[in-house]
């Protein structure tokens, strides 16, 4: 057993050595897949990294998991989109200093023929009702992401507990779900940013319902509470939050375009 302990220690010692060999300050941020997949972070991070000589390590997962990483103290800052979950994260004392950053909206997409006729719906909830009534294929993220949370809220508003062979829980990110909906010619809910990045070449689905207040999709950034996790780089996290919400940061966000269309919108200051 002594040998085993020695070996385990040895592995960690080497691993730690590898770790310290690259000694630049690093800020760990967990975020939702949409900020990364849309390409926004590629233009937003470099100016900050240059200014403060740091590296921002991006862990792109669903919002639910991103917040969990913050709860465990495995990241220093979270950048997500699910207001209710964020509020709970703050109320439980895991995060401090939440700031609004930007927003876009969710859209319900589906095959151009629109078999369930949702483009005539008056509300998102009604659109979902007609999909359920028709039994058209609907692909759900099913991964506790911000988009999944929103979708579940809408089903609740519609008074439907979605079940049956038409309702597919993919358990995957936004991109794979759009691909899956395209292959199966089904409906799904997506954030407009990711859909715009797929539109045309990668999917023949179209936006069939949008523009409702309930589909508003706000993004917030939160520092992990140093009182819960003393090891987090709180000062650096706050510098990053200040940068993202500064006029410079907001200008980068609102000026970022995919296929000539803006992906995220910032609030007027």
């Amino acid at each position: 057993m002594k040998v085993a302990r020695f070996l385990i220690f040895g592995v960690f010692a080497v691993a730690l050595f590898y770790q310290t060999a690259s000694a630049q300050e690093r800020l760990k941020m967990s975020t939702t897949t949409s900020t990364q997949d849309s390409g926004l972070l590629k233009v937003l991070l470099p100016p900050f990294e240059k200014k403060h000589n740091v590296k921002v390590d991006v862990i792109a997962v669903g919002t639910g998991q991103a917040l969990k990483l913050g709860e465990a103290g495995d990241v220093d800052v979270v950048f997500v989109h699910a207001r209710k979950l964020e509020d709970k994260f703050l109320a439980d004392g895991f995060g401090v200093n939440r700031r609004d950053v930007m927003y876009n909206d969710f859209v319900i997409i589906g095959p151009k023929g629109d078999p369930a006729g949702i483009s005539k719906a008056k509300s998102a909830a009604q659109a979902l009702k007609s999909i359920a009534a028709k039994g058209s294929i609907f692909i759900s993220r099913g991964d506790k992401s911000g988009t999944h949370t929103k979708e579940k809220e809408l089903w609740q508003t519609a008074g439907i507990d979605p079940k049956g062979s038409w309702y597919i829980e993919a358990g995957q990110g936004m991109g794979p779900v759009i691909t899956m909906a395209t292959e199966r010619q089904g409906y799904t809910m997506a954030d407009r940013g990711t859909f715009n990045a797929f539109k045309g070449k990668k999917t023949d689905l179209a936006v069939l319902f949008d523009g409702e207040k309930g589909l508003f999709n706000p993004y917030g950034i939160i520092a992990v509470n140093p009182k819960k996790h003393p090891h987090v780089k709180y000062d650096l996290a706050m510098q990053f939050i200040d940068f993202v919400t500064s006029p410079e940061g907001l200008r980068i966000i609102s000026g970022y375009k995919v296929n000539g269309e803006p992906v995220f919108f910032t609030y007027r200051k």
Binding site: L7, G10, V11, F12, V14, A15, L16, Y18, Q19, R26, K28, T33, D37, K55, D57, V58, I59, A60, A72, G73, D74, V75, Q172, G173, G175, P176, I178, T179, A197, F198, K202, T203, H229, H231
Partner: protein, 228 residues
């Protein structure tokens, strides 16, 4: 066919242009895999030797569990190591999660059973008289074991190559423990997973082609060493 052709062209372009992200992913993949296989060999080869020549109770059970560990899914290894090195885990204080070191730890654990098992079976397949012969010829126990290792060196080489193939091609540990951070813990395989999720299938396949090229080069080097 367009899809395949497009990905082939893309991979050629990426290689020829030495695309920075691709180079960084190749480097991360190879360096993490090399570190892991070195550590796994340091542990796995002696482990396989001990089990092969040792005589101890429950030996068959140990071999059976070693065989079972070879079937351990990478995501399970990832999850277990995750639980240990997360800030909430027993070794959380090191802050290893989402670093290349975390991937090395996970991939080492992944490769140990493979290296140990291949070593074990190569010794079992060797002439059983090597050890007693060396001993009767007056070699010390340590010298006889080294003689045995010399006899089965090709088998041990195969063990290392098999372990290397496993760690450089796996995606579960790298994704879970590394976090797929661009320019830091993004490996070839996690980059392929990411491109696939973005719907960039041709680009993903192109990266797959590059990964195979890298594996080919590594194996050519090992092959060359084996022939000497």
């Amino acid at each position: 066919m367009d899809f395949i052709r497009e990905s082939f062209q893309t991979s050629l372009t990426l290689i020829l242009a030495l695309d920075r992200d691709v180079v960084s992913a190749v480097w991360t993949s190879v360096s993490v895999a090399v570190w892991s296989i070195i550590l796994a060999s340091l542990i796995g080869i002696p482990l396989g030797l001990t089990i092969a020549i040792g005589n101890f109770p429950l030996k068959r059970w140990v071999i059976t569990s070693l065989n079972t560990l070879m079937a351990m899914p990478t995501v399970v290894i990832g999850l277990v190591v995750y639980g240990i090195i997360s800030r909430q885990g027993p070794l959380g204080g090191f802050g290893l999660l989402f670093t290349p070191s975390a991937m090395i730890v996970g991939q080492t654990v992944l490769a140990i059973p493979i290296v140990a098992n291949y070593t074990l079976s190569s010794i079992k397949g060797a002439d059983q008289r090597i050890l007693p012969t060396a001993l009767t010829l007056g070699a010390s126990p340590l010298q006889s074991v080294f003689q045995l290792i010399r006899e089965v060196r090709f088998g041990i080489m195969a063990a290392v190559i098999a372990g290397f193939g496993r760690v450089i091609s796996e995606v579960g540990v790298a994704m879970m423990l590394g976090g797929n951070i661009q320019g830091y813990t993004r490996t070839m395989t996690t980059a392929i997973a990411l491109e696939t999720s973005k719907g960039e299938f041709a680009f993903g396949l192109a990266l797959g082609g590059i990964l195979m090229t890298v594996a080919l080069m590594v194996n050519l080097i090992l092959n060359f060493m084996q022939q000497r």
